[in-house]
Structure formats: structure tokens, C-alpha cells
Symmetry: C2
């Protein structure tokens, strides 16, 4: 057993071959990372899940499995599905808030338009009354 064994081989007390499927994704300096996926999926299933994708995709597989395992350990009933549920609730809240603000902006725009028309009408009215006054003989004549 070499001192360069990955976290998986170290924990499983076995020799770590140079082409070990876990070696690049479960370094020995982060034993918790492997420990978490091992507790939830089992080492053999993690190995299978890594092997079934292309090499350049394996780091993402290891990261996402670790994240899911972490969530399941912190929240044994819902795991990361609980997070999905919370995010859906947040999206619903934001969509309701957005709809409310959009309704408010339509209302304000509508009011502005009406007030603009009223103000224009008032100006026309005032202009007409000033015209009348100019053509009316003042009382002192």
C-alpha cells in the first residue's frame, strides 16, 4: 500500500492502482468527500457511476454525487430534493412578486396617462377662459 493512495482506497484499506477510478476525484487530503458518497451510494456504485461517463465528465459526476450525499446526510428524509422544493417555492414567490409589481406599473402608467389627459383638458379650459376674458369689456369701461 503506497502513501499516495486516494481517499477511497485508503478507507477501503486496499492498494491504489495508478489507474484507480477514484484517484483523481477523491484525493487523500479530503477523506470526508469519499466517506459521504460511500455512506450513501457505496464505493462500488460510485465507481460504476464514474465509469459509465466519459473521462472529462467524471469530475462533475464526483462533485454532484458528493453534493447529493452531503444533502442526504444533513437531511435524511428529503436529501437535495428538499432543496429543489425550497427553490420551487422561491420561484413561485418571485413570480407572484413580479406579477404584483407589473400590475402596479400598469396601474401607475394608466393613472399617468389619465392625469396627463386631464391636465391637458384643464389647460385648454383655462386657455379658453382667458380668451373670453380678453374679449370682454372690463367692468370699469
Amino acid at each position: 500500500m503506497s502513501s499516495k493512495r486516494c481517499a477511497a482506497c485508503k478507507q477501503l484499506r486496499r492498494r491504489c492502482p495508478s489507474d484507480c477510478i477514484f484517484l483523481p476525484y477523491f484525493p487523500p487530503n479530503n477523506p470526508q468527500r469519499f466517506s459521504f458518497v460511500h455512506r450513501i451510494y457505496g464505493a462500488s456504485n460510485v465507481g460504476k457511476l464514474l465509469q459509465q461517463v466519459q473521462e472529462h465528465q467524471r469530475a462533475d459526476v464526483a462533485d454532484s454525487l458528493y453534493y447529493e450525499a452531503y444533502c442526504r446526510i444533513k437531511s435524511p428524509v428529503y436529501g437535495c430534493v428538499g432543496i429543489i422544493s425550497i427553490l420551487h417555492q422561491e420561484i413561485d414567490r418571485l413570480e407572484r412578486e413580479l406579477a404584483k409589481v407589473q400590475a402596479e406599473i400598469s396601474l401607475v402608467k394608466g393613472q399617468t396617462q389619465i392625469e396627463g389627459q386631464l391636465a391637458q383638458g384643464k389647460q385648454v379650459e383655462l386657455s379658453s377662459s382667458s380668451f373670453d376674458l380678453s374679449t370682454t369689456t372690463p367692468w370699469f369701461y
Copy 2:
């Protein structure tokens, strides 16, 4: 082996005891449900995850494990972490949209206030000018 075996015991070709941990959550009429969690976690790990929570929580454990397994089979690289990522992007988009609409509403409200003040000023101006006209001798006198 009884014909009332659950999907797990049926698939694992074993007797299904009356207190089988899988029986209430993996009915024989839905073999895919067990097949998915078995492929990702392995039957033994699913059993452990069910056993470590209280009985009333087990249906939620089975549902969330099935959902995660389903996501991992459909998306072998990211699993349901890909969904979490998409939901975060959607929240970011909604927050940006909300901030934009809130900025727009502040602008419209500000403009309405300014226009209101201008319209009030215009009315005062027009009223003053109409007073002047009334006290000025018309050109034809």
C-alpha cells in the same frame, strides 16, 4: 415465495417477509420504482436509508430517493444537481427582472410626481396670465 412480494423482493428473487422494509414503498405493480433506486444506491443502501428514519418519514425517503435516482439515470453527469443549477439560474433571472421592473416603477412614479408639479405650475401660470388679460385694455379700445 408469495405472490404478494414487493417489487424489491421480486427483483432480488427472495421471500418477502410481512415486515419487509421495502413492502410499503415499493409495490409490485411499479417495478421501475425499485429498479431505479437499486441501480443507483443498491438495495442494501436503500434499506439502510429507510431504516434510519421514523416510520412516518419513510414514504418521503422512498419518494425522494426515487426522484434522485430517476434524475441520475436521465442525466448521468449532474443528476438532480443539474435541476438545482437550473432553478438557481431561474431565480437569478427573476431577481434581475424584478429589480428592473422595480427600477422602472420608481422612475414612472418619479416622472408622475414631476409632471404633477409641472402641471400645477402651468395651471398657476395660466391663471395668472388670464388675470393679466382681464385687466389689460384690449387692442380694439
